[in-house]
């Protein structure tokens, strides 16, 4: 199966469980399992190629300009991890199906799980580091959702946040590191990066890159000092802990170190940082784990410890270390997932995970006892189980490792860690299963073995533990292929064999010491535990919370004074900042010489200017009278339109003047509800301040405009292209319209969608108002202005109806000629809207809306659809979206005329504009309509044909 499909399957599959939630738990679990199984089988089809040592690749270009491409590759390492992720995933899904309680939302759980699974598979199969980073972040996000799955648990929410904070910060650091590596090598493809070991290690930026990448890996894999988040993430449901926090996500950091091993390892920096961190983590985790009473916390710290062990092995930088690390990853995944699932079973059946409340369970839960014992003994390093083999290899490697201090120190410390590791394993078995059986009442619930659905998945893993432990040669070849993929061209695969018996060599004695020591430590558990409780220790959660609280405090101290909810303050801050920045640019920049002639000014222009300035200054000083302000702003708009006509922009003038009409109508409708008068509230000081700021901004824009109006652009504008190609390429002589519907058609397409969304938003807000608590107020509202004696004056009714066909005709004409003369879809749409609005105004809402055959939402949708389909149409001619075409036809007796696809697109624009404008205005009117006591149902108050029956006009208040 194509690699792309393997990665994509879980993502697409993630849609299913959520959708199928009502189909029942069996179906949801089944579909999740099937999806994972399909990906797993697909992965297995690539097994022969991997065994041959081939590199399977697939992908396509995504953002080649950024070096970000969807390129995937599968080698031994990727295959190994993908098998772990999907294989253990299958077991976890089966287990989770029976683990989750009836009132847990199973669809949600499996959706998150599949998202996570897809992201993990993506990480291990990525060939492009940028793609890898995307998947990396996706695992952080999806694990956040999974850890916090039980939203009602405070611990779960906090643990999820902590995990996201720590791994998210690490991910951020890693992005930096990867970008540096990419810059050094000149490519973001791993296959290229991995070939450039010398180039990278010689670069002065190698150390920063290494540290940044290791920050990402250490946070993800819970290495010291970032180990603290993992135990808190254990508040997650047990399947999540077993999957994310033992088998997969925490191994992502390990995977990354293994992946980058050929180019990053082998330097002193790598050796000291990675080995030391791993060693500390291993010992610290093991010691803490011993004293944890919560089964899952114990397992969590033991995971931390084992991850430290693997990190330490990778840190040594030797081929044998990498070999041992890969083998231990396999072993750890099997025994730890089995242990987590056993812990989940115990929790499920006894309602507690506190070891102190358990004991003697071997009589009550024999199956669980056998599974957990095999897995725990393997973890402790008992022969004939797989944990023993890799632990031996680790000790052998440590025997030759010199880090600091006396030569025996590292081997001794490694043995010390193993000793505690053995001790907590024995404690897990001894204090949970062995010992006297308690009275039935003393367990929180009566324990018994669960159904096969819960014990079968860990049993399969326990079988693997034994099989690998007894017959390691079965997997040796595979582990070597994986190791070869890790080593790349940097080192040869070691010749060593995985053997149970090496003879009487030092690692064996270290191993024996660890096991015996572990038993001794456990026998002294009670005094040791008291000592541990008495020792003061830093509590990671408190420190973390304090740091977060400090950040929040500083952020508040910075933001609150600036961002206090006062709109005027933002406006003031923004205006002064922009003016100051502009002034700085002005004072420090260079201003070129004047290159353009000043255009002459006549009296008419000065007259228009005076009207505009007078209206806007009047508006600022007289805005307290809101109706007057509306008239003044109308004058401003009119003068702007006139200026557009004068300055060779007929299209703009027509648009401006039509928009002006609908805007004023809109504001009038709003004023119907808002107070008519703005009170004078601000002090004279405040007004002076605002005048100063506004004046400065005005002066600044004026100076800026004046200076550039008299200078040509530095670079040649692209407008020449549009002028030259408008007729030849677009088939129209109105260049502005051709730009809108052809050259920049995609922009216009986006703009009509925005316009449509704005109208729908207004509609939605109106609906909310009409159905909310405001409704009562609207219904009881008494209009504050005296209503007109005749709501629908006859003169206006007659006039608007007579004029309607004429206006529609004008709109049609403007639309048709748009391609060659001023006009087009936007302007025609506005004109037609005005024609329809006039009917509403003159004849009343009811009358007009009764005669509307199409809902305005539909009109907007049709417009967008027509425009979109026109664009898609070009695909059928193997052209890119929105490629236009035109031709000239002649149907006698008409003159020759043009048919252009751009006209269809313009039709879409037209419809969208009509729909959007009408829907907005109609929504406002609906508010008003409810507000009035009663709207007249008659077309006009005076119906000439009924004059005999009704002498007095209806309506009016």
């Amino acid at each position: 199966m194509s690699l792309f499909l393997i990665v994509a399957l879980p993502f697409f599959g993630a849609l299913l469980p959520g959708v199928m939630n009502s189909a029942g738990r069996q179906a949801v679990g089944g579909v999740t399992f099937t999806v994972t199984l399909a990906a797993f089988v697909g992965l297995m089809t690539n097994l022969p190629a991997v065994l041959n040592g081939d590199l399977v690749q697939s992908g396509f270009n995504w953002f080649p300009q950024l070096g970000l491409n969807v390129t995937l590759m599968l080698d031994g390492l990727g295959f190994f991890f993908a098998t772990l992720i999907l294989g253990i995933g299958l077991l976890i899904i089966a287990y989770a199906r029976f683990y989750l309680a009836r009132d847990d939302n199973m669809g949600e759980f499996f959706t998150y799980l599949l998202l996570f699974q897809g992201a993990m598979v993506g990480i291990v199969l990525s060939d492009n580091v940028l793609l890898l980073l995307i998947f990396w972040e996706l695992t952080s996000l999806s694990s956040f959702l999974l850890i916090g799955y039980w939203k009602h648990l405070e611990a779960g929410r906090q643990g999820a946040r902590m995990a996201l904070t720590v791994t998210g910060m690490g991910g951020l650091a890693m992005i930096g590191g990867m970008l540096i590596i990419g810059q050094i090598v000149g490519s973001y493809d791993l296959s290229v990066i991995l070939q450039n070991r010398d180039l990278i290690q010689a670069d002065p930026l190698y150390v920063p890159a290494l540290i940044l990448i290791l920050l990402g890996a250490f946070t993800k894999s819970a290495q010291f000092p970032f180990h603290f988040w993992l135990p808190h993430a254990m508040a997650a449901p047990t399947p999540v802990s077993a999957y994310l926090h033992s088998a997969t996500m925490v191994k992502a950091g390990i995977f990354l170190m293994a992946r980058m091993w050929p180019v990053l390892s082998g330097t002193p920096e790598w050796f000291y940082i990675v080995t030391t961190a791993g060693l500390i983590t291993m010992i610290l985790g093991a010691v803490i784990a011993l004293f944890k009473h919560d089964l899952k916390a114990l397992l969590a710290f033991s995971t931390v410890s084992h991850l430290g062990l693997i990190t330490m092995l990778l840190g040594t930088g030797t081929a044998f270390g990498a070999f041992a690390a890969m083998f231990h990853i396999l072993n750890h995944a099997t025994f730890k997932a089995a242990l987590f699932m056993s812990a989940g079973i115990i929790d499920h059946e006894t309602n507690t995970r506190d070891i102190r409340l358990l004991g003697g369970l071997r009589h009550l839960m024999p199956i669980t006892f056998i599974i957990a014992t095999i897995a725990a003994l393997s973890m402790a390093g008992i022969p004939f189980l797989n944990g023993f083999l890799s632990k031996e290899m680790m000790l052998e490697e440590m025997e030759h490792t010199y880090l600091f201090g006396p030569e025996w120190l590292v081997p001794a410390l490694a043995t010390f860690g193993s000793l505690f590791s053995a001790a907590y394993c024995f404690r897990l078995i001894g204090h949970t299963f062995l010992g006297p059986k308690r009275d039935a009442e003393s367990y929180p619930a009566k324990p018994h073995d669960p159904g096969a659905g819960l014990w079968l998945p860990p049993a399969i893993l326990a079988t693997l533990v034994v099989v690998i432990g007894v017959a390691p040669f079965l997997v040796e070849n595979f582990v070597k292929i994986v190791t070869a993929a890790v080593l790349g061209s940097a080192a040869e695969v070691p010749d060593a064999h995985i053997k149970i018996w090496h003879g009487f060599v030092t690692p064996l004695y270290m191993s024996i010491a660890a096991v015996v020591g572990g038993l001794i430590v456990l026998s002294m558990f009670k005094p040791l535990s008291r000592l541990w409780e008495a020792t003061p220790r830093p509590e990671a959660k408190t420190i973390f919370d304090d740091i977060i609280a400090a950040f929040v405090m500083y952020a508040r101290a910075l933001i609150l004074p600036l961002h206090n909810g006062a709109f005027t303050r933002y406006g003031l801050i923004m205006a002064t900042t922009v003016v100051a920045a502009g002034y700085h640019a002005w004072a420090t920049g260079l201003i070129g010489p004047m290159t353009r002639e000043v255009q002459p000014v006549g009296w008419a222009e000065v007259g228009g200017w005076i009207m505009l300035v007078a209206a806007s200054l009047g508006l600022a000083s007289l805005h307290h009278n809101r109706l007057l302000a509306l008239i003044l702003i109308g004058i401003v708009g009119l003068m702007v339109s006139v200026a557009f006509v004068y300055l060779s922009a007929p299209d703009l003038a027509m648009t401006q003047i039509t928009v002006e009409v609908v805007t004023i109508i809109l504001l009038l409708l709003a004023l119907n509800f808002l107070p008519n008068h703005t009170p004078i509230e601000s002090s004279i000081w405040r007004r002076t301040r605002d005048v100063v700021v506004a004046g400065a901004a005005g002066l600044a824009t004026m100076a800026l405009s004046y200076h550039y109006l008299l200078r040509d652009a530095i670079a040649t504008p692209i407008s020449e292209f549009h002028l030259a190609n408008s007729y030849k390429g677009g088939g129209g002589t109105n260049v502005v319209n051709v730009i809108l519907v052809d050259f920049r058609g995609f922009d216009t397409f986006g703009e009509i969608i925005v316009l449509g969304i704005a109208a729908l938003l207004i509609y939605a807000l109106t609906e909310t108002l009409l159905n909310g608590p405001v409704r009562a107020r609207l219904l009881n509202r008494v209009p504050d202005k005296q209503l007109s004696g005749t709501q629908h004056p006859m003169m206006m009714v007659v006039l608007t109806r007579v004029i309607m066909p004429v206006v529609l005709m004008v709109g049609f004409y403007i639309f048709l000629r748009g391609h060659n003369e001023p006009g087009g879809g936007f302007i025609a749409g506005l004109i037609v809207s005005i024609a329809v609005v006039m009917q509403y105004m003159a004849s009343g809402f009811n009358w007009a809306s009764d005669r509307i055959r199409f809902p305005y939402h539909g009109v907007i949708g049709t417009g967008v659809l027509v425009a979109g389909l026109t664009g898609i149409g070009s695909w059928f001619f193997a052209k890119p979206f929105l490629t236009s075409d035109f031709t000239y036809v002649r149907i006698p007796p008409f003159e020759k005329f043009e048919l252009a696809t751009a006209a269809l697109f313009d039709l879409g624009v037209f419809l969208a504009v009509v729909g959007a404008v009408m829907l907005s205005l109609e929504s406002f009117s609906r508010l008003a309509r409810r507000a009035h006591v009663k709207d007249s149902d008659n077309p006009m108050d005076v119906d000439p044909s009924l004059l005999d029956e009704a002498n007095s006009p209806k309506g009016g208040v």
Binding site: V636, F644, A694, T733, A759
Partner: protein, 115 residues
Amino acid sequence: MEVLVASAVGILTATGLYLVLRLRTFPVILGMSLLTYAVNVFLFASGRLTIGAPPILTDGVTTYTDPLPQALVLTAIVISFGMTAVVVMIALGAYLGTNDDLVDDPIDAEEEDAG
């Protein structure tokens, strides 16, 4: 002519900004409309001023004004209508919901106490 256009942009900006800094929703909306005019004219003027040469291709004419800013401003004008309508609707909803049309958030003081 350039002085007239530049000063018109300046005055529209100044009056618009002054109104935006007022405390009630309606003058703020008017101020934003004025700012919209200012911005539109400013953008339009980035094609420089040409009199009597509309961008309609005509035989024998070689001088045209810059059509590109015009196309940009045309859609900007239409979109600004949509934006104004949405803002007016929000202002109206706020007024009907709280019975005042102040733009500043009155919770402000409490927040600072809590912080």
